[in-house]
Structure formats: structure tokens, C-alpha cells
Symmetry: D3
Subunit: 135 residues, 6 copies
């Protein structure tokens, strides 16, 4: 089930097809996952999302695998089933080992736990943690 | 404000004091942040939380700074103000640069955005992402 | 799967049946969706929920379609799969066009993104935004 | 700061005043907390919220203190600072002991942790847990 | 408190200054809120966020006020205090009346409530709601 | 679908087998649900999670059924489908009646609703609720 039909390649507008072409070229794979097939209904939204994703997940100061793990951490916390699946697969493809996978799970679970405790106790932020004084 | 008084060192039970001693020794610092001062009301909860945190955030297959960034990603998504502050400070202390900091923010923001789109479109998980067939 | 059996019309108490009758009359349709068939186990909860929904989503200062879109925005953010499906269908039934649908998705995604950035940076609320001075 | 001014008693419409009177009579206290002073801008919303709260938190099959603790669990998970404070105070007023308080925190933290693990692993629901076959 | 210092106009790089100039021109106001002063640490992130926001919140098929209300609905559900404040102020500036404000609150609250009920009962999505059959 | 294969009994390491043995002995049942079969990939994570769960959900000052209901409240709010199913089944096994079940749903729904209102109005915490003055 979905709230929008998933578009096949034959249904694409030229603008959407250009984005699919770029996804395929960037990833070196013909496979286009369902997420993009839903967004393809709005080529401008599709293009804006893909273009930004390519920049954000592209070369920078953080390792590509670290970025995928950050993505998983957010997706788990948001309870996004699709995203947990797709980014765990992506992290695997980028070399995440079994040991790194379960160690990441332990960190995410620990954070969820202490988040709950900090929120439940409503402890004030220590002054030592402030980095935000106006310059 | 908090839902539990924050305990000063003079208020601790011997069991809680032992945990504070271990926090200080492990971190090489006298500073005990408010989170632990609230949990100190229940020495068993304090000890269980700290002991597990020490294992989870200790040596393993992931870099300590990566673990702090995963912690931040979860805390941001849960909206835990205290945790965002404390783990951003911890990541800074472990060497997170300005560029890594803002690159991490961009990844977290991107994930929040595509999480929302995947949830709003309710696209089915692609079969290619399944890693869970029973063995 | 569900945590409560879904009640068929034959299983209803008179109080629950009266609510189903009102749902059908209000909507001008015989179809009762699964949500109400689960709540029907507790006729008082069913009645309270439906009665309030009818008022809140009924005539007022906001357009009915706008209300459905607000409902979708909350449901997406809460990750409620059932609710995203049912209220997207309701918004479609109230005239939401394809273009409005994807434009709404873009707004929801943008909000998710800047929410994450504001939470991650923990910026203080500008004094200019305060509307809450006691009268 | 707030997004609506908090109304003093002198600012109330007669309908809002009647709700405040009922809150005071029900609680046996003159104190009206800020939540109601914000809702008082819309007497119909104020009345609907209070009337429903009085029913839901009133006599039933669950102990009043258990209901407050459930309320805290939801509020912590939603990250609602105001609600965590107000319902922790309410639970205290209904007799929650220090030991019950911290034991509740441990349960909430445990749930947050295993929620994260279940979501991260995306394990399918066991057939044994299904209670929802249509009757 | 914040996790990044807020930059004053004097601290900006030329790229960040250009974004601030565009914010001021677009809004017809000299006021730059704290959100942008934090993002200004990373001019590329600042520019990407502002450029996309300008498009998404700009002219389209939805009324600008409706877009602000959708933004508020997401921000409330995410528990983003800063965002609730800033977008409520923006909605006010775009003409949201008191009656529209509290009616929106009632819809958001209703959605939160039925989201919880649908998630707690785990009712399956009705086949009638499916819009996602592949074309 | 899952992000990790579910391990059968034949796949377990001795350490994981010992945990499964303890789960079976503690619960007086041969049934091991999928959650543990996923965690079994990392015997240390499996053991730490189970050992802590046994303590937290074991004897204390709160009734075992109350603890399961708190667990449900958190799981619903986090939108964890697996957890809602498993802990509702557990609460049923511990004697939760139909009336208690739906009364709990009403409390959870009420909390979700007023959480949204408190967050949307951003009312300041009343001084009367503060329990956190340093001792």
C-alpha cells in the first residue's frame, strides 16, 4: 500500500527521467527503489530531494559509512520502517560489518534510554555545555 | 526545574558515591553533570545506567567520535534538549571539528526530511532491502 | 494483525451501533473503516472519540480540506501508518489535487528538516516570537 | 514564552470561568495551572478538553496513580516538558513514592531502549501476538 | 544556550552575508532570527536551507497561511519549541486569526489522539485507502 | 522483512543459547519471540538487554501489570508496532482485562492530546511543579 502510485520507468516525465538517469549513473546500478518511484509524481520535488541528497551524502569530512549510520540512527528514532531498511542496506553495501551493525544498535538503544531518563527527570542543562554565547 | 532534586556530593549514598567516583576516574575530571545527580536518587538505576554506558561507549569497532555523533542524531530526533547539549559537548571534547559538526547537521536534517517523505508516501519496502529471511 | 479483534456489525452493542449509524449518516456511506471497528469494543470510548472528531472536523473557520491536511501532517510526523493512509484518502475525497498533495509533502518535509536543525543547534527562541506575556 | 497569552481570572468569558470553577471544585484547590490559562482563549476547546480529562482520569478499573504514571510515560516519550512536570507533580500528589518514581523511570527507559532495538532490527510481529482476527 | 554560537552580522562570511541579504529582501524586514544566525557557521548549509525554504513556502497551489499551519502541525508533533514559536509568529503575521489558531490547535490535538489510538490498536489499513498500486 | 536474519536455535552461539535458556526458564515457556532471535546475532547485546529487562520488569514496588502498561504507553508513543503487539500480549497474559485495556487506551489518547496542546501553546512550567531545586 502507498498513498501515491509507484511510477514505472514508462510513466516518467522527461524531468523525472533525467533524475532517474542521474540516480542510476551515480549509483552505478539500474535499480531504482520505491521511494523515488513515489516522488516521481512531482518531478520538482524529486529533483530537489535527489540533488540535495547527493550533496549531503557525497564527499566531505565524514566517512560515507558514518553518514549512513547517522541516517539509520535518525530513521530508527523516527520509526521510519522504509528508511531503516533502505539505509541499513546502504550501510551494508558501504562495508558495515556485522560487528559494526550491532555495536551501532547498542549505541542507538543506549541513547534512546538516556534520552528518556533525561526527559523524565527534566534536569537543567549544565552551564558547561553551553556553546552558544553570541559572538 | 526538574522532577527530582539534584543531589550534591554530600547527599550521596555509598553506592551512588562509588558510581560518581568511577565516572570521575573514567573521565579524568571532577565534573559530574546534572543527569547523574538526578539519577543518584536511585543508586541501582544510576549504577546500571552508568555501567552500561561505559561498555557501550567504550572500545569497540566504531570510533568513539562516531558513537557520540550517533548519540547526537538520536537525541536530536527525540528532541532531548539536555542530551543534544551534553553529547555535542562530548563530541567536541573528542575532537569533532566545526566542519564535521555542520556536516553531521546536514545529514541529520536530510534524514529527517526523507523520513517524512517516506512515511507520507507509505511506500512499501523494496524486496532488495530484506536481510531478515529466517536462517 | 491488531491488538483487539475488529468487530463486525453483528457484534456491536446498541451503543456502538448507534455510533456506527451516526458515522454512516454523517459520511453518507455504508463503509466503516477498521479504526472504528477496533474502538467498538469500548462503546464509551468509541462515542467520545467520534463525537469529538465530528465537532473538530466539522464547520468552523478553517476549510475542511485544510483540516485534513493538518491531520496528515501530524500523522506523518507521528509515523502513524494507518492514519496517513486514512486521512490522505479523506483529503483526496475532499478534493485534494495531485499538485496540492505533493506541495503538502514538500512543506512537511521542509518542516521536518528545519525542526531537526533547530533542535540540533538548540537556538534560543527570539524575544520577537513571544506572544505569551500574562495579561 | 508562549504562543498565546495566559489569561488571568479577570480575563475569562463566562463559559471559561465555569470551567475554571469546575477545575477548582474537582481538585479542591484554587490553583489553576498555566495549561488551562492558555486554553481559556477558546472556551469551547477548554471545556471539551477538561470535560474529557475529568472522565478519562476519573473512577474506572485502573488506579488513579497508575493513570498518572501512564500519562507520564506518554509525556516523556513525546518530550513534552510541561506535561512531564505537571503529571509528575500530580503523581506525587496521588501518593507516588520515591521508589515508585524511579522504578517507573527504569521501566520507561527500558521500553525506550527495546523500542529502538525492535525498530532498528525491523523484526516481524510474531503470529502469537495477533489478537486482531476479525470476529 | 545553543550548541553553536549565534553569529552577528559582523561575523559573516560573504556567502553567508548574501543569504542574510536575501532573507531581508524577501521578508522586507531587517530582522534575522536566531535560527539563521546559528546556521551561518556553514554558509553552504545556510544557503541550501534558505533557498529550499523560499521555494517550498513560496507561491504554489496552497495558501501561504495553510503552509504555515502545516509547518506548525509538524513542529508541534516533533516537539520543536523554537519552531512552534517561530512559525506561530509567522502564521500570525500572515493573518491567522485567534479563531483559526485555536481551531488549528483542536485539529492537531484530535490527530494526536486518534494517532495514538490507531497505533495502540494496530488496526490494519483498509484496502479502500490504498492508492499505491504500481501503474 | 528484517534488517538482520532471525536466528533459529540451531544457529546460536553458546552464550546466546544460555540467554535463550534463561528466557525460557524465566517465562516457563519454550516460545522465543523474534525480537530475541534478531538480537542473538550479538550475544553480548542479547545478554545485556535480557539481563536488564529481567531486573526492570521483575519484583519491585510497582505491579507487574502496571509495568507492562507503562511499556505499552511508551511503545505506542514511539510508534513501535512490534513492541505494541508484544507488550499488549504480555499484559493480557498478566491479567489485563478488556475494560482495563480500553481504559488504558483512553488515558494514552488523552495524554497524546494534551501533550500536543501544551507543546502547541508552549506554556511555561508553573513554579508549583518544580521538584528540582538543588539540595
Amino acid at each position: 500500500m502507498a498513498t501515491l502510485p509507484l511510477l514505472s520507468d514508462a510513466d516518467l516525465t522527461p524531468e523525472a527521467r533525467a533524475v532517474f538517469d542521474d540516480i542510476r549513473a551515480t549509483r552505478g546500478s539500474d535499480f531504482i527503489n520505491n521511494f523515488w518511484r513515489a516522488l516521481a509524481h512531482d518531478p520538482a520535488l524529486l529533483a530537489a530531494t535527489w540533488d540535495r541528497l547527493k550533496v549531503v551524502m557525497g564527499p566531505g569530512t565524514l566517512d560515507p559509512l558514518v553518514k549512513e549510520m547517522l541516517y539509520i540512527a535518525v530513521s530508527v528514532t523516527n520509526g521510519c520502517s522504509y528508511c531503516v531498511h533502505s539505509h541499513t542496506a546502504a550501510a551494508r553495501a558501504k562495508g558495515m560489518t556485522d560487528a559494526q551493525h550491532t555495536e551501532m544498535l547498542a549505541v542507538i538503544a543506549m541513547a534512546a534510554q538516556t534520552n528518556a531518563l533525561a526527559t523524565a527527570t527534566q534536569v537543567p542543562v549544565d552551564a558547561a555545555f553551553d556553546a552558544g554565547a553570541p559572538t
